[in-house]
């Protein structure tokens, strides 16, 4: 049977998909556990904390030199980071605020969610870079 491989790294696609699925299920299980313990399953404070941690982790993986089509990247970034963080919960919370006539609350939620997580992505990247240099 022919194995389809990544043209960039030579890794079989099935292995990369398996790593992504594994990381995704672990990250999503953690997210569900945290949100289940919260006051509501879309609690913006908990979602913020999860998104911040996941954004720093993926930034660190990038800075560390991990790239697409490698098993550890698949496990950590699209897998664990992707499963732990959530975009859709944020957009639904924003849409609910807009529907209920709270445009200021909606805008505030977006600003608070984007600003620190974007900064966290940059911070994670710097931390990863420092670690990569230290490893050499």
């Amino acid at each position: 049977m022919m194995v389809v491989r990544s043209p960039d790294t030579g890794w079989p696609i099935w292995a990369l998909v398996a790593c992504t699925a594994l990381g995704g299920s672990v990250g999503a299980a953690l997210r569900a556990t945290a949100l289940n313990a919260a006051s509501s399953t879309t609690d913006p404070a908990v979602v913020f904390a999860l998104n911040l941690v996941g954004s720093i982790a993926v930034g660190a993986a990038l800075g560390w030199g991990l790239r697409i089509d490698r098993p550890l990247w698949a496990l950590l970034a699209p897998g664990f980071g992707g499963g732990l963080t959530t975009f859709s919960t944020v957009t639904v919370e924003v849409a609910i605020r807009l529907r209920d006539g709270q445009p200021v609350g909606a805008l505030l939620l977006v600003v608070v969610m984007v600003g620190p997580t974007l900064a966290g992505a940059g911070l994670g990247w710097r931390l990863g870079l420092a670690r990569r240099v230290a490893l050499r």
């Binding site: 998909v17 594994l22 995704g24 299980a29 949100l35 980071g81 859709s88 609910i96």
Partner: protein, 112 residues
């Protein structure tokens, strides 16, 4: 049993999202954008049609959440900024948020 079903569904959703990224993320991360907009609609429907604290609601939320991703979004924006493409970064972020909120609102409108 719920946990196993949940983990399997989230695994599948993550693989679909990563697949979209592998296929469509080129000059701009269109694959992530597509996954996030689709996920926003799914979670909008889930929240709009049932109380989100029910077990079924939680499962759909978890799967819809795994289909979309926040960490890829902000890191792709950060990469575009590091590549000195501020217009692309701002446009990608704005397009994600606007299309995502519109999709979420459309999903919410499906509910009772």
């Amino acid at each position: 049993m719920t946990v196993v079903a949940f983990a399997l569904a989230a695994a599948a959703a993550s693989a679909v999202r990563a697949g979209l990224g592998w296929r469509l993320n080129r000059h701009l991360p269109f694959g992530t954008l597509a996954a996030n907009v689709l996920a926003s609609f799914v979670v909008g429907v889930a929240v709009g049609t049932r109380p989100p604290d029910e077990v079924g609601g939680l499962a759909v939320l978890a799967v819809g959440g795994a289909l979309g991703t926040w960490s890829a979004l902000v890191n792709e924006v950060a990469v575009l900024l590091r590549e000195d493409r501020p217009t692309a970064a701002a446009g990608y972020l704005a397009a994600s948020l606007v299309l995502g909120v519109v999709a979420a609102a459309a999903g919410l409108a499906v509910g009772p």
